[in-house]
Point group: C2
Chain length 219, copies 2
């Protein structure tokens, strides 16, 4: 497996479908990809219930992972060339058969349970965990161009080309989850953060060409 | 296992929590119960996305089961004396340890896959399938008193004490899913439909006392 493509829940449904259709229609892709989805509006609903009722970190964590799997199941259904997989083994088989697997990670995460249970850990860190298992590179497709020097709503915010995970630790809230830089350091790994609304940027990264993104380095 | 208690998603969160707290606080219950939850607002969101995008029956079916598991996970977390279980084996262990298991049925339903994939099959039929596996009786707690002669919104609708599944087949939409009567006939089984907003009614049924409900017979 070459790439884990994490598709942000905020891109679901239309932009996530457009992105996946673009990817599966590349006949000369020459890269094996596995998709992991964010929890989107389903995870927002868990957050809302949590604000109201206050669940344990573990219940929130598990529920949010099920939300990722719902979005993944619906996305895989909608795009010909994608196929849902309930385990890494199934995902690798899907890939062997020439389709792009969309991983339902609930059972894997229940069995391995490698990450702390908190809202600091979301689908970004889970996708990184999976990419590390598979020795694959990680590409996080979100709804902004990458990591900015400060909140892009404010004047003068600039897109960062490359940043160390160490430096990102002090950035507070960004377009990736709070735990991701810690995990990048632990794995001495790196990841691309890119705007999923521009599928050609993702293709450029996969093909090793120049593009608009932020590269977060874990070294 | 004596009873499968299916808790309707429309009762979540407050009424479902109240009902479960009432049940776990019965010190002389003398019955083993396993809980299966409806998908509530999460399943409504799948329906909304489906209206918008049109997913396959299988994707809807799988996603709706994950929604049941989210509600179950959150409910089990909120009520002391309940515990989430990802398999029947785990559920039986939870029960042996004196807690009431709330079953996450996704893996079980993926492995067995016994029911048609359509919106005719919801958590009611899934709870019946599980009760049949466990040779347990089924009690469906919903947000109305049971099955009515016709829509309770209309004048003169009367609660039905007992109805055959065969007769219910011709009722169209009721407070239970459309497939349930067919499955009751297949299993030659029966189930109680009762208002979950009145926990003492559920307790009465479990204790074999008189109560307000509809009994649907499959014979």
């Amino acid at each position: 497996m070459d790439w884990v493509l994490k598709i942000g829940g905020s891109l679901f449904p239309e932009k996530a479908i457009d992105l996946c259709e673009f990817i599966v229609n590349q006949t000369d892709l020459d890269a094996e990809i596995i998709i992991v989805c964010g929890g989107g509006e389903f995870a927002n609903k868990v957050r809302n219930y949590n604000d109201l009722l206050g669940f344990s970190n573990t219940a929130n964590h598990r529920s949010a992972i099920m939300c990722m799997d719902i979005i993944g199941t619906l996305l895989a259904d909608k795009v010909e060339g994608l196929e849902s997989a309930n385990s890494l083994e199934d995902a690798l088989k899907v890939s062997e058969h020439g389709k792009i697997p969309v991983l339902n990670s609930y059972t894997l995460m229940e069995d391995h349970d490698p990450l702390e249970h908190s809202w600091r850990v979301t689908s970004d860190s889970i996708a990184l965990y999976i990419s590390n298992l598979l020795k694959a590179k990680l590409l996080i497709a979100t709804d902004v161009d990458g990591i900015y020097t400060h909140d892009p709503i404010n004047d003068g915010a600039k897109l960062i080309d490359t940043i160390s995970a160490n430096k990102l630790l002090n950035f507070g809230e960004t377009s990736v989850d709070e735990f991701l830089p810690e995990l990048l350091i632990r794995y001495q790994s790196e990841c691309y953060v890119v705007n999923g609304k521009y599928p050609e940027r993702i293709l450029s990264i996969i093909k090793g060409k120049s593009s608009k993104y932020t590269l977060i380095g874990g070294n």
